[in-house]
Symmetry: C2
Subunit: 202 residues, 2 copies
């Protein structure tokens, strides 16, 4: 195979710079952030920005994917290597909530809260299912859980960010509470799971 | 005291009709719903609508308050009279999620997901705290919970609606799972609670 052509590498670099600038500018300026300012910060022309991301929503969702790749995917890979699968599961929950809390202003400014769910599902559902299976095999997780349950636990944790100071570590309390609910000790009979059906990404 | 003047009664009736029309029109037309159509459906002039609700957000939040008064407050009053406080708590959770699932299109269309949280907190926090206290006194709820925890459980349940078909009863599984987490059986030590701090209602 040929080496990647420089023009491709340039495009990838531009794209990465634009996303990083978008996260910064949204965090600072809130919902009023302009695409012009983002292009300026990324040191690209506005036409280049539009060529990569034709709408504000497309830009925000791509920036979210960058966030996941940088801060959540590595923790999921580590968790899969952890000897204690329950600790691995907790570390993934913590990483998602920490990351999205830190970037809370970006998320709130772009109003992509609901569209964020399918993006997260795409990258998290399989690793969470695998982690859950291991924890079940070790008897550390109730046997009646399916992968969608673990993903929904993440969604529930994220929903708490609007109820607390972004800088507090208040969500840790709810990770512990949810892990108690996920434990085999004192587990009651659950109604059946329904398929994960995320709202379409706009 | 004087009897209410007819003009006041008229204004209250108009206001109620406008809110009901708003819920209908948003549910049918989605985010593109126009204030003109809402005024037409409520059989009031557009000037009257603006006098009552100067912005789309103000209208949506008032419609949400109407929803709470009609469908959630009565269940909370009943739950407080239930001999089994844990069942009372479960019925409140169910009522909130059911109501907001049924009106999911209205909520999604108005994009007030985050602003909905303070509105719900205003009417739910105290009754939930009282229900929780009774359940704790009966030994049915872990002793380390504070009222904000119970309200956050409601917020978590609502966050699941975007992950499932609105018409499914899929959230019942998570009410059961969360109640297991809230049970004194197998309760682990929790990190301390942080104050409930809702984003300001716009």
């Amino acid at each position: 195979m040929d080496a990647p052509r420089p023009i491709r590498a340039d495009a990838a670099r531009n794209s990465e710079r634009i996303l990083r600038a978008a996260r910064e500018v949204y965090a600072e300026a809130g919902g009023e952030a302009s695409l012009e300012e983002i292009a300026r910060r990324a040191d690209v022309g506005i036409a280049t920005l539009y060529r990569h991301y034709p709408s504000k929503d497309a830009l925000a969702l791509a920036a979210l994917r960058q966030l996941v790749d940088e801060h959540i995917s590595p923790v999921m890979r580590q968790a899969l290597e952890d000897n204690d699968p329950r600790r691995g599961l907790a570390s993934v929950m913590e990483a998602v909530v920490c990351t999205l809390a830190r970037e809370g202003c970006f998320i709130a400014a772009t109003r992509i809260e609901s569209s964020a769910v399918p993006v997260l599902a795409a990258s998290m559902l399989d690793p969470l299912g695998l982690l859950g299976l291991r924890a079940q095999q070790a008897g550390l997780l109730r046997a009646d859980l399916v992968p969608a349950d673990l993903f929904r636990v993440v969604v529930m944790l994220l929903s708490l960010l609007v109820t607390m100071n972004f800088d507090s570590n208040g969500w840790r309390r709810y990770i512990a509470l949810l892990l108690d609910g996920l434990s085999p000790v004192g587990a009651s009979l659950l109604p059946p799971p329904v398929p994960l059906q995320c709202l379409p990404v706009s």
